[in-house]
Structure formats: C-alpha cells, structure tokens
C-alpha cells in the first residue's frame, strides 16, 4: 500500500538534496521546520483524484468553480421553517383545525391539528424575503440570501437525518461531504487541515458526520472541541505539549529527525519512511499555526462586537463564526460550525416559543456579523455560506405547544459563492408540511454544493471494495436556477 503524506512542496528539489547530502539531514530538517509558511499553496495539481505524494495538495476542479470554500452553519435539532423563513398565512387562519390532507405514512411522533406561528413575519430587503421576527439581524441581510424553500430528506429521526445530511446515507457509513470536498479539491493551506468542524455534536452519528469512512484518513474532518465544550476552550487534540518547554521539544525533534534520516538511508529512501519524517515537520508547523488562528486577541473590539462576542448570549456562537472566518481566510476548504448545546438545541417538541426564541437569539447576530465581515473583506464572492438543520418541523402541533420533526419539506439558505442573492427557490404546500414545487432533495443539494465548488458529483468518485462510490450515490440533480 502506498503511504500518503499530508504535505510536501518542492518535492523534487528536496529529494535531490537528500540524495546529495548524507550528513545534512539535521540542517535540512531544521530549515524545514523554520520554513513555516502559512501562505496559501499556489500550485494546484494537474488533475483530480488523490496524489500519492500529497493527498491534500490543492487541485483544479472539474470546471471553473464559483466558490473556493464552504462554511456550513449547522443548526442541530431541526429549526422550524414555519417560524423562521417559510411564511404560511394559512396557519393563522386555520390554527387549531385539522390538516386538510394526509400526514406522512411514517412519522416520528403523533401530532395533532395545525399550530400557528407565535412570531410575526415581515418582508425584508429589495427581494422581499419573508423573515420572522426571530431573525432581526439576518433580516437586514435578506438581499444576500438565496432561500431554498423545498428541501426534503428521508429520515425523520435525528441520527438518520444527520447522517443523511452530512454523508448522503442514513443506512451505511459513508464519507462526510467535507471529506469528499477535501478529496476533490485538496486544500490551500498545507499547515492546516482541509476540513475543520467547530464544536460538532458527538451524538446522532457523531464522528461519522465528519468522518472520512473509506476515503484515506487525510480527508477526515478535524474537530475543534465538541458540542459540550465552550468555544473558547475548543482545541484540536494534541496540538500542544504541556510538559516540555518549546525549545527542548524542538531539540528533541531535531534528534528524532536525524535518527529517522539515518534509518531512511539504510532503507534506500523508502517513501513511506520519508513520508513519516515529513509528517512530523508538518505537525510542528501545525502546532505553531493553529494557536495563532485560535487566538482572537488580535481582532479589534468592533469585530468582536460585530459577531456578538461582547455579549453573553451570543459570545459562544459568535466566537465559532469568527473562527470560521479566520480558517476561511487561511485557505481551509470546508468549515462546519455547529450550533448545539448539551441538549438537542433546536428540537422543540414542546415549548416552541421559548426554545426557538433562545436559539435564534444566540445565532442571529453572529451569522449577520459573519455575512457583513465576509462581505467587507471581499470573501463572500468565493465563500459559500450554507445554513440549515437536519430537517424542519411539522405545521401540526405536538403536545400543546411544540412541533415534531419534519423531513418532508423545509428551508435552508445559501449565500455568496456563486448563488443568486435575494433569490427564492421552491415552495412547500400551503401549510408547509411537504415540499411541493421545485423540490430539492438532500442529494440534489449535495450535487449543487459540489457543483458550486467546480466538482461534478457524478465524476467525484472513489473506488472502494470493488465499486465506485460517490457522495450522491445514484441520485442528485444540480439545481442550476439558483446559480449566478
């Protein structure tokens, strides 16, 4: 089996140096350690698919990309489209009456009659998107948002729906979309992982949601903390050594490098041994770069305010959004931010009013801040922002004041990265139970996201256990009308 290494630039010249200088290993190693470049790698590879030398080298896409990276703002638990972005006036008229058509054959929990939304809706921006009063700040960005009102999935339980959303499959272990994207495009900064998931939830599929499954381990998402860790405490595991002073560790790594190079000589420069030597060099550079990205102290007070980091309700999620921007700036390919507390956050089977009010208040300002910031930095053009949960909620009531899971029709929105701003696509029925017009299945959404990144979902395949796999399995239609 060919061994894969995370990073190598200047491969040829370096091998020549190795061949020409038996004694210069220690010196060369140190030079490598000190060459801790964090500038995006400029040289995209000639073709797609994994290169054995550096599986994460930036690669040219199948066709010109509209977006270079994705930030996925994942609202764990299933936010209600009916109370946020999918305005249904008939719910007010028919509040308390039975749904005038059949409910889905399979439901998660029994629900009763129709339940009106407790919030007022208003049109926003020149485009006239309906946004409820839960999202006042986001409402001001209506003209940036591309609403997908007809998203639908297949699984009505959190676990299955999370897996479907992240991996395209709720019955098999499959690579996450972030892993597919890293596999297809590599990454632009060789000192950071290609795919980072900030405070992901460990429940409901857990690691499979950012796992590489059968793709090589290099495409695995790197988690920063998890949902039960406050974002200011979230760190990549093993990124620092609390026991050894930095200069001693550096001395140790030089010694290690020297030993390894002598060993390499004995084995005629076996590429797998060489790859492991390089992995230590990269680790050392990551160890230096990651804390710099995580350190928000250089950000101005106005930036912190923009993301709501100065306020208790929004500080936690605000920090995650700011981190996402900082990773995006440094060339990370796929960044997921998860809004999840130590319960199921947006899962309001009861007490919809208080639950959604609290949840929206935590994310509204930070997301608006992220949009403003990306725009101000000129990054929104090539960064695709993607907002949504694993499903929506039922227009019919669960208990007296809640809504049940609803994968049959719900709203997600995209912004930047080549989608039409202020655009609406698809619709649910008059009560918002089922996607009705221009339906967008999760597979279609995946195909579309890949397309925006310049990847053909039917050509982005990986051969495993005797067959070619893809994110969209045998499904997926690209939703062209939403693209610029």
């Amino acid at each position: 089996m060919k061994s894969l290494a995370w990073n190598q630039r200047n491969e040829t010249s370096r091998r020549q140096m190795l061949a020409g200088s038996a004694l210069g290993f220690g010196v060369l190693a140190l030079a490598d350690l000190l060459r801790a470049g964090s500038e995006p790698d400029a040289a995209p590879g000639p073709e797609n698919g994994a290169s054995a030398d550096n599986p994460l080298a930036a690669r040219t896409p199948h066709f010109p990309a509209r977006a270079r990276r994705i930030i996925f703002l994942f609202m764990k638990g299933g936010p209600s489209h009916l109370d946020t972005f999918d305005y249904k006036p008939l719910l007010a008229r028919d509040d308390g009456k039975p749904l005038p058509f059949a409910k889905p054959r399979v439901q998660f929990a029994p629900t009763g009659n129709l339940l009106n939304t407790p919030w007022k809706f208003q049109r926003h921006g020149a485009c006239g998107h309906w946004v409820s009063e839960l999202f006042p700040h986001l409402g001001r960005h209506a003209d940036d948002l591309c609403m997908l009102h007809s998203v639908h999935g297949t699984n009505p339980a959190h676990g299955g729906a999370l897996l479907k959303l992240h991996t395209g499959s709720d019955s098999f272990v499959r690579p996450s979309i972030g892993s597919w994207v890293s596999y297809g495009l590599g990454t632009e900064n060789q000192n950071l992982p290609a795919f980072i998931s900030i405070c992901p939830t460990l429940a409901h599929g857990g690691i499979n949601n950012w796992g590489a499954a059968f793709l090589p381990a290099a495409y695995q998402g790197t988690p920063l903390g998890n949902a039960s860790v406050p974002s200011d405490k979230a760190r990549v595991k093993y990124i620092e050594n609390p026991w050894l002073p930095r200069e001693i560790q550096q001395r140790q790594l030089e010694q290690l490098s020297q030993r390894n190079r002598e060993h390499l000589q004995r084995f005629n420069a076996d590429p797998t041994l060489d790859a492991r030597i390089r992995s230590f060099e990269l680790a050392f550079r990551m160890q230096r770069e990651m804390p710099q990205v995580e350190d928000l102290s250089a950000e101005s007070a106005s930036t912190l305010r923009l993301y709501g980091i100065d306020q208790p309700a929004t500080a936690n999620f605000g920090r995650m959004c700011l981190l996402a921007r900082r990773f995006a700036e440094r060339g990370v390919r796929f960044i997921q931010v998860t809004h999840s507390d130590n319960k199921v956050q947006w899962d309001q089977h009861s007490d919809l009013k208080n639950g959604h009010e609290k949840n929206a208040a935590e994310v509204d300002l930070p997301i608006a801040g992220l949009l403003s910031d990306l725009k101000a930095r000129g990054m929104l053009d090539d960064t695709l922002l993607w907002w949504g949960g694993e499903f929506g909620r039922t227009p019919t009531v669960e208990g007296s004041n809640g809504r049940d899971h609803n994968p049959e029709g719900f709203t997600m929105w995209l912004a930047g990265g080549g989608v039409k701003p202020g655009f609406r696509y698809g619709a649910t029925d008059d009560y918002g139970f089922f996607a009705r017009d221009d339906k967008v299945h999760i597979h279609d959404l995946h195909a579309t996201l890949l397309h925006l990144l310049g990847l053909d979902h039917e050509r982005l395949t990986y051969r495993y256990a005797g067959r070619d796999f893809r994110l969209t399995d045998v499904h997926g239609e690209v939703v062209h009308p939403i693209m610029l």
Partner: protein, 708 residues
C-alpha cells in the same frame, strides 16, 4: 488465468463431485450467465498447479518458495538475502503476537545452535496467549466487531466482549476453520455436550448480531430488512468476498447475483431471530447463558417473590373483608379500599411492599450473550428497487448457486436454513470461500494479498498475482485440516518469509510495490501494536486476558444528547480489550488507520498524517509511557549510561547498538540535561526528565513503529 493455461494445469476434481450432481437448487440466473461466470477464476473449482516442470534450488524450502521464485526469476529478480536473526525474531514476534520480542527469547534464539531453532521459536509464540489476541483481532476486523451499535442510537453492546473472547479462545485452541465458521453462523443449532459448550456455541453466533442497526428507525418493516441486509452483506463480504448487498435493489451489475439470489439468502436471516423487539429504541436479542445452578437459583428466587406477593395479598384481603363486614352500606364503598385500612395494617403493608421491591432487585443476574436463534420461518418476496413498499414474487430460502462449483444442500423447510448455509460456506469444497480465507491469512502475514482486493473476489476484484500459489495454498489448507496454526507454520518457515527487507536500490526502483515478494515488506505496525508496544517496552503492559472494560451498562448510551463522552480508554490492558465504540473509536486508533468497525475489512490501510505525529509528540499517553520506560530502563540508577542505552536499543528495536550510536545518545542526553537546567532546578527531576525525553524520542522514531 492465462498463466494457468500456459502451464497446462490440470483441473483436479478432488472435491465433492457428488455434491455438484446433487445440485438441487435451480439457479435464478440463466444458464448462459452461469457459463460466463464459470470462466471467472474465483468461482471455479480449485486447480492444482503442475509442479513437475519446476526445478528446485538450494534457496527453496517449500513449494511456496518454488512457485514465488518462478515468477521472480521470470522477471529478472532474485530473492533477497536472509534476514538477520534479530530482525527475524522481531518480525515473527509482531506477526504472531502483535508485540515486540521478549528479550530472553531473543537472547536464547541468537545463542541457540539448534538447526530447528526457528521452528521452536514459532511453536512457543504460537502457543502463547498473545497469538489468539493478535490473530483474533484480525478476525474481528472481518467480523466488524464493536462494543456499541453506532449509527443513530449509539448504545452499548454490553455483552459483545463475550464474542470477542470466544474468538480469541477459538484461535488459541486452533479451532479448525470450518468448525469456526459453522459455530459463528449456526452455533445455536449445533449439539453441545455440556453447558459450557452450549454457552460457547451461543456466544459464537454473536458474529451475526453485532452489526450496526438503525435502532430508532420509525418504519419497523424497513428496520428489520435493513438488519437482514446488514447480515447478508457481512456474510457475503466476510466469507465469500462478495458484495452481495448490491443485489438488494437490482441484479448485481458485475457479479452473478440476481435479486432473487439476494432475497433467497435474506429469507434465511429473516427467519432468524436477531431482535427482541423493533419498537424504537429497538432491542436486539441476547441468548441467556443458563446453567442448572443458575436456573435453580432463579426458580428459587421467583418462588420467594411469589410468596411475598401472596403474603401481601393475604393482608389486603383480610383488611378488605373486615371493612366490608363492618360497612353499613356496601354499595357505597369505593372500589379501592386501601385508603380506609387501619394504620397498623397500612404500616405492615408498606413494610411488606418495600421488602418486595428490595427483593425484586436482588434476583440472580443471568449472563447473556448477543446472538441469534431460530425465528419465524418465512420466504421473502423480491423487493422491487429494494423497497418494502413494492413487492414482487416470493423466493424460496436458498443459497446462490452461481458462486462456485458446488451447490448447497437444499434447505430443510422446517428451519431457517442457517445450518445449510453455514455448512456450504465452511466446506473445503467451497473454492471461493477457501480462496478468500487463505488470501486473507497471506495478507495478514505479508501486508498484501495475493489477491489485492481481499474483500472483493467478484468480477470487479483483482486477479491473483500468483494464481498457482493461491491454489496450492488452498489445497494445503484443506490438507492441514483447515488449521490456521499449521498454515502460519508453512508460511513462516518459508525462505520467502525469511528474506531481508533491505533490498538493492534498483530492485526497489523496478518493483516499488514489491509485487514479486522478492524482499520482505517493511511494514508499519497497526494501531494496536503501536500502543501495545509502547506499553510493553515501558514495562507497564497488563497481560490479563478477556472481560469487559466498558464503563456504561448494556444498552446504555455512550453519548446522549449532551455530547458528554462516557468512553474511557485509560487502561494498561492490550489494545484488543479497549472498547470499540462505533462513531467514536478511540481517537488514537482512528489516527492510526483502525478499520471502520461497521463493515468487514481484511485490508487495513496504512496512511501517514500529521495528527499521528502530534499524538506522538504531545499526548499524555506517550509522555507517560516514556517516563515509565525511562524509570524501567534506569532501574536503581546504578548501571552506567552506555549500558542502559544498550539495553534500551535492544528492548525497543531488538538490535545491537550501532557504531557511534551510544555516543550520540549520550551527547543528546547531556544537552537535554543542560537545557532543562533553566526550567528544572531539582537535579533528580532533571535527570528523570532528560531520560524520559530520550525514551520519548526513541519511541517516536520510525524504527520503533516499523518492522523490518
């Protein structure tokens, strides 16, 4: 195939022609298709290579060498030199037990004048408990073993460890392969001479039960069929190297499997009881491991409970009768009279009920094992496009006949058919199944299968690189009574296995992937061996065997909605015994290419990524074992530095120290001590930390994690 034809091989009808004639099942695949499939090398009868034309040389120790050398020489290569004795001991020790060599064993080997010292070494290693732990883990990769369900509801498989221990025991006993297969698929249907044996057989069927399941699937019909599908798919991949699962929705695109074959097989598992109930969160079935003593204690316990309930009932009745007798208007009495009981009676009742509650909690615990039993017998209709909502014609339970030269015995309509399936899979006449297992054994020794696609022998899999050798190995395996240990001996005593991993540069350039096996492959240790070796050389490995290290109870969650991590991997036990939590495999193992515990995997990857290096550099675990390693190495501190360093090099790498190596290490140690003077004022601490950093450096080195 072409090589075979060129060499005029003879097809030996050594196996069960009778069975072929008995072929009772009609194939749902057309006759023309079957003929086409008969061409596929994997489905044909075993072909014995014609050895008469081969010339032996002094190098060959076995027919195996002869067959490999033929291809080698044909391509202009020669075998590599023999490995150094220390290299051989290190290699064999990791290969057979997953641990570095024991230094005493190594000393003995190096000083032994006996011509059969290697065979003796082999015998000792293969008889040690570490053998079953190492090779059991290989099989657990295939059995997609896990201590949790994974998927949507990650609840603990609190009793899966019994299956894991069964696997280790079976391999240590050198249970013949055919018996091992039979037990895992149909142990519950085999006769047992004792309770102990019965338990072992029930536990074996855990193989079918430990797959991942969508336990909160709202659609119960779908859940049940998904579970059946997982079983069909696992059996297909694990024992036949076939992706049968594809045929759930459509006739297999590449292999001779139709949807009818799939549903014939699926019927067998649908007729098997895997689940206790399907109500979300669904419960899987477990077989109680009952003994007469336990049964007696349980009966006695239930009698006592019954007596207590009766005493309560008596008190209630007596009190009610008194109230009724005293009542003036019996019609107006409330239905429940208890609130009217006099205080002393109420008091007594309360006491009796509390006693009952306490007693109920004190029942004798009945151990149980995940596993299957016969279920409601049923034949399944074809599910059009895999959907249970669009049903086609019903298919009788059966075994696909297109996958080999033999057909299975017809299924007894009064049984699920698991026994017939198991016998067919385990039979030495099942050429496909035999090629799959033999190729895996080869893969685990050499890091690469003769068929590279170890888990796919279908038309999309690769052809064998050495077809005749594969056939020869299959025949030897049958001759050896399908014993794994005898098979290992054949391989390990070969000249091929004992080659050096050092090769001339031009050889590496011409055959970088070592396709010809003209040197031993330099291999990185697997995740478990890296961790175990770290513990072993630091002197802190706990060699106790078996049992459970789970911190959560059976069917409880490792994570609930809170994302709180209830897994705990801090244990000095061998890696095999650490919990395997799907969705959250020990992060160190994830980094080091541990297989996905949801699907059979006979060919682990070896990748090299920076996070592995971060773990080596910065983790608490490696820091701790380094400190322990230093403490063990320095002992009382009386030995001189060079002596200690010589010992370390020997313990970590099994080789003698190289020229100048000790001096370099001494210089490094001195530098560390000086550098630490800034942060560490205490002399003893400084020395300790310097040695520990030195050990850490050696452990992180390539030499430590690679086996020559």
């Amino acid at each position: 195939m072409t090589i075979l034809e060129r060499r005029r091989c003879v097809i030996l009808a050594v196996f069960s022609i009778g069975l072929m004639l008995l072929a009772a099942l009609s194939s749902p695949i057309g006759a023309a298709d079957r003929d086409a499939n008969n061409e596929h090398w994997a489905f044909r009868g075993v072909v014995a290579p014609d050895l008469q034309l081969l010339q032996t040389t002094a190098w060959d120790r076995s027919t195996l060498d002869l067959l490999l050398r033929e291809t080698m020489v044909g391509r202009g290569f020669r075998p590599a030199a023999e490995a150094e004795p220390w290299q051989l001991v290190r290699r064999v020790s990791f290969d057979l037990t997953g641990l570095p060599a024991d230094i005493d064993l190594l000393d003995e080997y190096e000083s032994s004048p006996l011509p059969d010292r290697f065979e003796q070494l082999f015998d000792r290693l293969v008889a040690s408990p570490g053998y079953g732990e190492r090779w059991g883990r290989h099989w657990l990769d295939i059995a997609r073993y896990a201590d949790s369900n994974g998927l949507d509801e990650n609840v603990a498989h609190g009793n899966a460890w019994r299956y894991r221990d069964y696997v280790v025991r079976s391999l240590n006993q050198d249970k013949p392969w055919d018996r091992f297969v039979l037990e895992q698929l149909a142990g519950d249907l085999l006769p047992a001479a004792s309770d102990e044996e019965r338990h072992e057989l029930l536990t074996a069927t855990g193989f079918l039960a430990i797959g991942p399941k969508v336990l909160a699937e709202v659609d119960e019909t779908k859940m049940e069929l998904d579970i059946v599908d997982e079983q069909v798919d696992t059996v297909g991949k694990a024992l036949l190297g076939m992706t049968i699962g594809c045929a759930r929705c459509h006739d297999h695109k590449f292999d001779p499997l139709g949807t009818a074959d799939y549903y014939a097989l699926a019927g067998i598992f649908k007729s098997t009881k895997t689940m206790e109930n399907l109500k979300k969160v669904a419960k899987w079935h477990e077989n109680p491991l009952m003994t007469p003593e336990l049964a007696a204690r349980k009966a006695e316990f239930e009698t006592r409970l019954q007596q207590q309930r009766e005493s309560i009932q008596k008190v209630v009745q007596a009190a009610e009768e008194t109230i009724r007798a005293q009542a003036e208007n019996k019609e107006q009495l409330p239905k429940n009279l208890e609130p009217m009981f006099p205080a002393p009676v109420a008091e007594e009742l309360k006491k009796l009920r509390e006693q009952l509650t306490t007693m109920e909690k004190e029942g004798p615990p009945i151990p149980s094992a995940m596993g299957v039993a016969e279920g409601t017998l049923v034949d399944l209709p074809i599910h059009v496009r895999g959907s249970h909502l669009t049903l086609g014609e019903i298919v009788r339970r059966g075994i696909p006949s297109a996958l080999g030269p033999i057909s299975a015995a017809p299924i007894d309509p009064a049984s699920s058919g698991r026994m017939e399936l198991a016998r067919w899979l385990a039979s030495d006449a099942n050429a496909l199944a035999r090629r799959v297992v033999v190729n895996r054994l080869w893969r685990w020794h050499f890091g690469r299968g003769l068929v590279r696609t170890t888990d796919n022998f279908g038309l999309l899999g690769e052809s064998p690189s050495h077809p005749e050798l594969l056939e020869w190995l299959v025949l030897q395996f049958a001759r050896d009574g399908s014993s794994w240990k005898r098979f290992h001996r054949r391989i390990l005593t070969s000249a091929t296995y004992q080659q050096s991993s050092l090769a001339a540069p031009d050889k590496v350039a011409k055959d970088p992937e070592n396709e010809l096996f003209s040197r031993f492959p330099l291999r990185r240790l697997e995740a478990e061996s890296i961790r175990d070796a770290l513990l072993f050389v630091s002197g802190s490995l706990d060699r106790r065997m078996g049992g459970s290290l789970l911190t959560v109870k059976n069917r409880e969650y490792f994570f609930d909605h809170t994302s709180k991590d209830l897994t705990d991997y801090r244990s000095p036990r061998r890696s095999l015994y650490l919990p395997v939590v799907r969705n959250n495999v020990y992060d160190v193992f994830q980094l080091l290419d541990y297989p996905d515990a949801a699907v059979p995997n006979g060919d682990r990857a070896t990748t090299t990524i920076a996070p592995q290096a971060l773990w080596m550099m910065n983790s608490e675990f490696v820091a701790e074992v380094s400190a322990q390693c230093a403490a063990t190495a320095c002992g009382t501190g009386s030995a001189d530095e060079k002596q200690t360093m010589t010992g370390l090099v020997r313990r970590l790498f099994q080789r003698p120290a190289a020229d100048g190596e000790l001096e370099a290490l001494q210089r490094f140690l001195g530098e560390l001590r000086n550098a630490l003077a800034v942060s560490e004022s205490d002399e003893a601490n400084r020395v300790r930390l310097a040695w520990s950093t030195l050990c850490h450096t050696l452990m992180a080195s390539n030499e430590f994690v690679y086996v020559p």
